[in-house]
């Protein structure tokens, strides 16, 4: 259970220190990320720029127009994905679950791919009226549409069972996958390139006006999920048991579903598919802090912000002036790191 400490006393200490430590790490990472890039800007310059007292217009533009929006987006999206991952793992009572199970990713992909491929023909009106927002809006609508469909399929006769949710999710994901395949087949070279890059994820090229709705939705959903920490703990005992302890289990499942769909949908719409954060961050936090959601949820939120922030810093600085798709980085760092944690845990168990 423990990866870093060997006794439970240290787990309690870890719990007490983890959240402040992660918070400080996030702030440090935030300033490092602001200063690093094609142009290195010192911390004192950054403070001057944020206080609007700096003279250098170029550096001012780099911070306000490029780096700050991007870093804020990376951190908030990372936080949202990790919170949703933690909630999904609880609701499926399975540490391998992730938001993709309820159709968020495939729905968003369908919406985005449809907008990219059909944007010049069938959806020309849609593309025109939303302009540069067309792909994010399409992705968000696709995500919500597919989630509503899965929700309807699994909520029959007042019940909302996890097994029917899982089965509906698998079936709908398969259908949506084939639709994406058809769209890919009829796309031209430029569209194919666009949709391939969309599916690898990117945090680049967003400014605050475009991000604001996404950020608001994610923050609201994170707060909602934080408030569910205690019920989620009890839910892990089993549905009947949680009900006997005073939890409205059906309502809890629906709340988690809605928060996860909105939060992941908002994130995926603007960044494309960034895998692994939602799965790996809660898992690592659980290895260190244990399964109690009162610690797991806030620590996952901070850990997600930290991980995606770092991954993005890496993505945009490692092969300057080009950059690596963020989804590749999260998988490339996350996978081995996760394996090391897992091996350490098994070694300690003996």
């Amino acid at each position: 259970m423990l990866a870093l400490g060997s006794t439970l006393i240290t787990q309690q200490q870890q719990r007490r220190f983890a959240i402040p430590a992660l918070f400080i790490a996030c702030i440090v990472m935030f300033f490092i990320a602001l200063s690093k890039g094609g142009v290195t800007i010192s911390i004192s310059e950054i403070i001057a720029i944020i206080n609007q007292t700096a003279e250098d217009q170029l550096k001012h533009a780099i911070i306000w127009q490029i780096r700050l929006p991007r870093i804020v987006l990376a951190m908030i999206v990372g936080a949202g994905l990790a919170a949703c991952g933690a909630a999904m793992q609880a609701i499926f009572r399975n540490p391998l679950a992730d938001p993709g199970l309820i159709g968020v990713s495939s729905g968003a992909a369908l919406g985005a791919v449809a907008t990219i491929v059909l944007g010049t023909s069938i959806f020309a009106n849609f593309s025109d009226s939303f302009g540069i927002y067309a792909v994010p809006v399409g992705a968000f609508l696709g995500c919500i549409g597919v989630c509503v469909f899965i929700y309807r399929l699994s909520a029959h006769s007042g019940q909302f069972t996890i097994i029917s949710l899982l089965l509906a999710g698998i079936a709908v994901n398969a259908i949506v996958g084939s639709l994406i395949g058809v769209l890919t087949l009829i796309s031209n070279d430029q569209q194919l390139r666009d949709l391939t890059f969309w599916s690898m994820g990117s945090l680049a090229g967003n400014h605050f006006t475009m991000m604001t709705p996404t950020l608001c939705i994610i923050i609201a959903c994170c707060i909602g999920l934080l408030r569910l920490a205690k019920p989620l703990n009890l839910y892990l005992l089993g549905e009947a048991q949680a009900k006997h302890l005073g939890i409205n289990v059906t309502k809890l499942k629906k709340q988690v579903f809605i928060y996860t769909a909105l939060c992941t949908g908002a994130a995926v719409a603007i960044t494309g598919i960034i895998g692994f954060v939602g799965f790996i961050v809660p898992h690592i936090v659980r290895l260190i802090l244990g399964p109690d959601h009162r610690y797991l949820m806030p620590a996952s939120i901070l850990g997600g912000a930290l991980m995606l922030g770092l991954a993005d810093l890496f993505a945009r600085t490692v092969i300057l002036p080009a950059e690596v798709p963020i989804g590749l980085i999260t998988s490339a760092i996350g996978g081995p790191f996760f394996l090391i944690m897992l091996l350490k845990t098994y070694q300690q168990r003996g």
Partner: protein, 264 residues
């Protein structure tokens, strides 16, 4: 008073419960017995409101189950089910503390901590408090879950409010000592004013601790009353197909079932 009135339940074509009447009052231990598939667990689930009924109503203190909120029910009764699916590495103490949820607004956290402590002491698992639940043995897991359920009832018992404890085969993976110890705890809870309903397989155990016994067979109550009234030789033969009788007349010995050797 926890009452079930003419309870019937079916799954597909199979009849789980057929017109069962059931009562448990405060200060008594009622045990449900019967052969495999007789409907014991179904009756307990029906009394909890966990399975839909095709006919009949369950009520607590003359008020139907459906009229209570989930939180009200959680302060009024605690349930220990047969299976639990906890695969996440909570400590024993954390599992017991989960009982606090329904009480956290009425009780101070200090009082709630004391309830957890008492419950763990009563079940003899205090030394396991910081152990990881998933690594316990079957018996230790069962005692942890029972401690959680006892902890959930404590606030109501201390405040002299009515409380009901429903337990489904609490002793199925316990050794002999702990079987009797767990039933003793159920007895103690009843003495504090709770109504206890337990599904038990072991007839000797049932006879030792029950004030009243309901014997079920094929979804129907075939007998109800004191252990002596229910566990007659004729009925054991008819329902369990064994030639056995209840022995209660020995001094300083708990009642037990004596089975005659089969002569073929």
């Amino acid at each position: 008073m926890l009452t079930g009135n003419q309870l019937s339940a079916t799954v597909g074509q199979k009849v789980l419960l057929d017109n069962v009447d059931f009562v448990v009052k405060p200060y008594e231990v009622v045990v449900i017995i019967g052969p495999n598939g007789a409907g014991k667990s179904s009756l307990l689930k029906a009394l909890c409101g966990d399975i839909p009924l095709s006919h009949g109503t369950v009520s607590i203190n003359q008020r139907a189950l459906a009229e209570y909120t989930i939180t009200e029910l959680a302060t009024l009764r605690a349930v220990l089910t047969q299976n639990y699916e906890l695969d996440f590495p909570f400590t024993v103490n954390e599992v017991v503390d989960m009982a606090h949820f329904a009480h956290q607004e009425q009780q101070s956290s200090l009082a709630l901590k004391r309830f957890s402590h008492n419950a763990m002491q009563a079940l003899g698992i205090s030394h396991l408090a910081q152990q990881c639940f998933t690594r316990l043995s079957g018996g230790e897991k069962q005692r942890t879950q029972l401690a959680r359920v006892l902890c959930q009832l404590q606030p109501s018992l201390v405040n002299q409010q009515s409380a009901y404890l429903l337990i489904d085969e609490p002793t199925s993976s316990l050794d002999l000592y702990h079987q009797y110890e767990v039933m003793n705890q159920a007895r103690l809870v009843a003495e504090q004013g709770a109504g206890v309903v337990a599904v038990v397989h072991d007839l000797s155990l049932a006879a030792s601790f029950a004030d009243r016994i309901y014997m079920l067979n094929e979804g129907r109550v075939v007998a109800a009353g004191s252990p002596q009234q229910v566990l007659t030789q004729a009925r054991l033969n008819e329902v369990y197909k064994i030639d056995a009788k209840l022995q209660t007349n020995l001094d300083n010995v708990l009642p037990h079932i004596i089975i005659t050797k089969q002569v073929s």
